[in-house]
């Protein structure tokens, strides 16, 4: 009666790889930095509220980057703010993920040409995992972005990112 001779017919026993277990744990409790920049932040707040319920995916806004796994760049990234965003990202513990939300943080949005004060895309300062298009994106779009990020984490390996 060794362990390897058992046939696990019971549904309560799950066999998995350590990697899959870690990935599952990481993607199921993505705590976000409580951080909003512009009008996209209003949509982000709506997503966190009861109607769209970000919490059902394990996303809880945290007051400090030290406790967070994901930062949602929700709004126009001005040059002045870009320095702060860079620091906030640096201060998050590994592994850390970035969702760029809305046209402004994706590529500069309506300010891309004449906005002397706007960074044309937050990926110029921090590595972005998921871009969510829209101006601003609806909460459903942000949820879709989060699902994409979860999909990405699910397929991660210790070798390739492990941020």
């Amino acid at each position: 009666m060794n362990l390897s001779d058992q046939h696990f017919t019971d549904d309560n026993i799950i066999i998995t790889k350590v990697e899959d277990l870690f990935n599952w744990a990481r993607l199921s409790s993505l705590w976000q930095v409580g951080f909003g920049l512009a009008c996209c932040a209003i949509e982000m707040m709506a997503t966190s509220a009861s109607h769209y319920d970000f919490d059902r995916f394990g996303v809880i806004p945290r007051p400090s980057p030290r406790q967070s796994d994901v930062i949602i760049i929700s709004g126009t990234v001005t040059l002045k703010m870009a320095i702060r965003i860079k620091r906030l990202y640096e201060q998050m513990p590994d592994p850390k993920y970035v969702i760029s939300m809305g046209s402004c943080s994706n590529c500069g949005g309506p300010y891309w040409e004449h906005g002397y004060h706007v960074l044309n895309g937050v990926d110029r300062v921090i590595p972005v995992d998921v871009f969510v298009p829209g101006c601003p994106p609806r909460p459903e779009a942000l949820l879709e972005g989060l699902l994409k990020l979860q999909e990405k984490i699910r397929n991660e390996s210790f070798g390739d990112k492990n941020v």
């Binding site: 400090s64 702060r84 640096e90 201060q91 513990p93 590994d94 492990n162």
Partner: protein, 161 residues
């Protein structure tokens, strides 16, 4: 079969050792401590630890940390915090008392009443001292209204001598 038997035996021993109710509490506390310790140790082993200079700087909402956090606070915050704490503890102690004091008759009532009177005295003292007011009234310098006592005449003194 032997396994089953030994487990039963172990149960018997276990419950013989666990004589007191406090023992159960102790095991409960021990389990709680172990849970935390195991979680911290496991996390220590499996998490990536990549400290950088930027990551280790003080978090001040992305701003540059300015100055020392060891700044001086007004001592009056301490008094306010202390007064708050006293009444906080008062509530904590009074709620269980309020639930059961009827079972103990007049003595039960008296115990709570003495406690409240003592706190009331403290409160009156604080009030009188002006610790409940943040903006202190300006200290009035004492003005002497009485005229100084009249000088004794030298003639009298000489007479006594």
């Amino acid at each position: 079969m032997t396994l089953l038997f030994s487990s039963v035996n172990f149960h018997a021993i276990f419950f013989e050792i666990m004589l007191t109710e406090f023992g159960k509490v102790f095991v409960f506390i021990l389990t709680a401590a172990l849970f935390v310790i195991i979680a911290l140790v496991v996390a220590k082993f499996i998490r990536p630890a990549r400290p950088t200079r930027e990551k280790l700087t003080t978090y001040e909402c992305g701003e540059n940390p300015e100055g020392s956090p060891w700044v001086k606070f007004n001592i009056r915050f301490y008094v306010v915090a202390l007064i708050f704490l006293i009444f906080d503890v008062e509530v904590v102690l009074l709620i269980p008392w309020a639930l059961v004091y009827k079972n103990f008759g007049f003595i039960g009532y008296l115990v709570g009443a003495i406690f409240l009177i003592l706190l009331g005295l403290g409160m009156a003292y604080e009030w009188r001292k002006g610790d409940l007011e943040w903006v202190r009234p300006k200290i009035k310098e004492p003005v002497i209204t009485k005229s100084p006592p009249p000088k004794q005449e030298k003639e009298n003194l000489t007479l006594v001598n």
